[in-house]
Amino acid sequence: MTTAISYQAKGIVKAFAGVVVLHGVDFEVRPGTIHGLLGHNGAGKSTLLKILAGAQPHDRGTLSLGGEALSFGSPREALAKGIGCVYQELRLIPNLTVAENLFLGREMMRRGLRDTPAMNDYTRDLLASYGLKIDVARPVKELSHPEKQLIEVIANLDGKARFLFLDEPTTALDGRQSKELLDSVRRIAVERHIGIVLVSHKLDEVLPVSDEVTVLSGGKVVYRDEGGAANKQAIVDAIVGDAHVRSGPKVERRAAEGEGEVMVSVRGLAGKRLKGADLEARRGEVLGLYGLVGAGRTRFLRTLYGMEPVLAGSIELGGKPYKPTNPAGAIARGIAFLTEERKIDGFVPMMSAWKNVVLSTLDRYRSGGLVNVAGSRASAVATLDRIGTLGRFDAPARSLSGGNQQKVLLGRIIEQNADVVLLDEPTKGVDIGAKGDIYDIIRRLADEGRCIIVVSSEEEELMEVCDRVAIFRHGRCDGTTRPIGEWSLGKLREAAWAPA
């Protein structure tokens, strides 16, 4: 192992807009081995991966291949040095055939024309050498997801990649498919002497195939050891990390446990990537939903709000059955929703801040067919003022800062006067000062007797605003909620990482 040329990174530092994401990370991949790269949401895995694959420049530190210092301007340059990366979103072009994808940009030519038979023959032999039997003249879109992933892996290797990074390769796969894919990857690594890095959230899949494991937490390497299932507890501890920093809610949490009437009751709700969620949420309390990215929390909220189809399950709102159809229907039933991506589906950028506030409730200000502009504006401005929004309310909403844009959307929710409030990452991209304000708004909404459901990936946030927390894992939620006093930052992470 030591004789082979390895790909090394030393002291990698990376900051985005002054926020340091990686604090001097060392990392090494050896040929013929699989290196598992693990860490919690926002630990810096993706950033490290992109730097190593040449997709992003780093601020300080060195990359070297067998002692030769490297610097990449683009992923293409990295690939030229034998370093490839397969991202979660595959790069294959669905309507082209397997062979055409493999040769994209470097097609074989014969007398000025594309030599399809030669490319097909080459591809067939290549896939066969990896033990893959796929019709190379078929469009890629007709293949299964694991097949596509393997083809992308092979395409990288055929581009003479000696080191390969796989970002969450099993996210879209079920258990058996995951195992098949990882076994194939394992075989390729050993047989072809390729160094592979696996980034994943699924410990139970990664550990058995990894020779080596590195855990990142807060942009630092906190654990490094050999792989194998034996070290699982130590690895979970490392991922959970600074759990001791805070082990309980900061503020005295109301003793309202179980007091409010059940407002939302969900049984076996399933959708596209939601496999089955049970949940009860009560009036007058904030229920937090925690889990890893992709665990189904956002989909749960979006399904309740009628944005994603319900495939199975039942929902009761205040004791009456409710079937989500579309957002307008959800609003009519007293549900308000705050989106995670306010720029994509939150506010209307060129519309004034106050109009964005009353967009859902304009009908209320109608008299004789026309909107009472002064009245609706006054109401919106009063709401915005009450929650401490700063900025010109007559100016386009996009001219406000992130925190104030978020308050505009919260203002809309307050205007709606909804019984059930769904909040998806309510402080994403918001500065510290505005965060505190937003927590106050959320608490106030709950104290008014509304039922609040908050999805957040920030443990501190949940500890701060929630009365109870439920955990989502791999698209499921078993309906168990525990009062915030029984949770700690560490326990939350542990629960999220527990096997499904």
Partner: protein, 340 residues
């Protein structure tokens, strides 16, 4: 937070130059230039000719603006003019309907044609460009098929009223357009639906999540565009007292889009005002008229208008994307807001 100080501070801090000011200024320059170039240009009678000829473009531009506000486009409006112009004549002469009934029926047909556009766009997700492009062909063919490409004379004298009546010397189409503009402006600015139209154009997904019925909005704006096309068809038909199968199939479509865009309506939706669009349409109509007065060769006219549109829109695009800084505007703003 500081409600009491917010409002006055706001008023003092910034000057708001309406977005239409630039294009209105260009219009004034063209009018002044025209007056200098020809004594016949800025006369009352020529102004009425200008406005009367511009009325059809004005209506089409009005309808087009509604569609553009939602981020769509309507390529079928010119053909709807032709279709409704002929259908009006058919209703009166072949079916023998009295002209007011025929006129109302034709307006309904125009709105229906537009609604079909909107319905297909909303239900299938086919891009508006394609759907209205197809409707352009369909609506253009119907009158040709019905009449065998012949014109139909209209013998009902009352029909003249629409295109040729004058009140206080002002042609009726101009008055009708003025009323339509006023209604449309109030509708966009003051009605719930008007706000929803701009919201759909500004961010359709956000509007949907906010509970806006986006399907209804889409169908409505195309129906309005179709209705405006039918208004154009009636004006043409009544001025000529003929059902003319190629009426409105010249530069009208081009001018309707150009007028709105020159007037500051964004092709991407969500931005623009009715007044801006109407000033833009007036500018196009004025330039067209001015070239007639100055006896510019007809072959040159579209070229001149094309260049004006290109320059105007390029200038506006660069201004809004801040790729072009206007030092005097910045200075002026600093000077006025300096005492903050």
């Amino acid at each position: 937070m500081t409600n009491a100080t917010q409002l006055p501070a706001k008023a003092a801090n910034t000057i708001r130059i309406p977005a239409e000011a630039g294009i209105a200024f260009v219009l004034l320059v063209v009018l002044a230039g025209g007056a200098l170039a020809s004594p016949n240009f800025l006369t009352l009678s020529n102004i009425f000719v200008l406005l009367l000829n511009g009325a059809v473009i004005g209506f089409l531009c009005l309808g087009q603006s509604f569609v553009l506000f939602t981020g769509g486009i309507d390529l079928s409006c010119g053909s709807v003019v032709a279709m409704t112009c002929v259908l009006a004549a058919v209703f009166m002469e072949t079916l023998g309907l009295p002209w007011p009934v025929a006129s109302l029926l034709v307006l309904a047909v125009g709105a229906m044609a537009g609604a079909v556009n909107g319905l297909i766009i909303d239900k299938t997700g086919v891009p508006p460009f394609i759907v209205t492009f197809a409707m352009m062909g369909v609506a253009a063919s119907i009158p040709q098929i019905i009449t065998g490409a012949e014109s139909i004379r209209v013998m009902q004298f009352g029909y003249r009223m629409i295109g040729q009546a004058r009140f206080f010397g002002i042609p009726f189409p101009v008055i009708a357009l003025a009323i339509a503009i006023a209604v449309a402006a109030v509708f966009i600015k003051r009605s719930v639906t008007g706000t929803h139209i701009l919201a759909v154009g500004g961010n359709a997904e956000a509007a949907r999540l906010a509970g806006v019925n986006t399907s209804r909005i889409t169908i409505l704006v195309y129906a309005i565009a179709g209705f405006c096309g039918a208004c154009g068809g009636l004006i043409y038909g009544s001025r000529l007292m003929t059902g003319y199968p190629t009426a409105g199939r010249g530069d009208e479509l081009f001018f309707s889009i150009a007028g709105a865009v020159v007037g500051g309506v964004s092709l991407f939706g969500g931005i623009g005002t009715i007044y801006g669009a109407m000033i833009g349409a007036t500018l196009i109509a004025t330039i067209s008229n001015l070239m007639n007065v100055l006896n510019v060769n007809a072959y040159w006219q579209p070229l001149v208008i094309g260049v004006i549109i290109l320059v105007g829109v390029t200038f506006d695009t660069m201004r809004t994307s801040s790729r072009l800084s206007l030092p005097w505007v910045r200075l002026l703003k600093e000077k006025i807001s300096g005492g903050k």
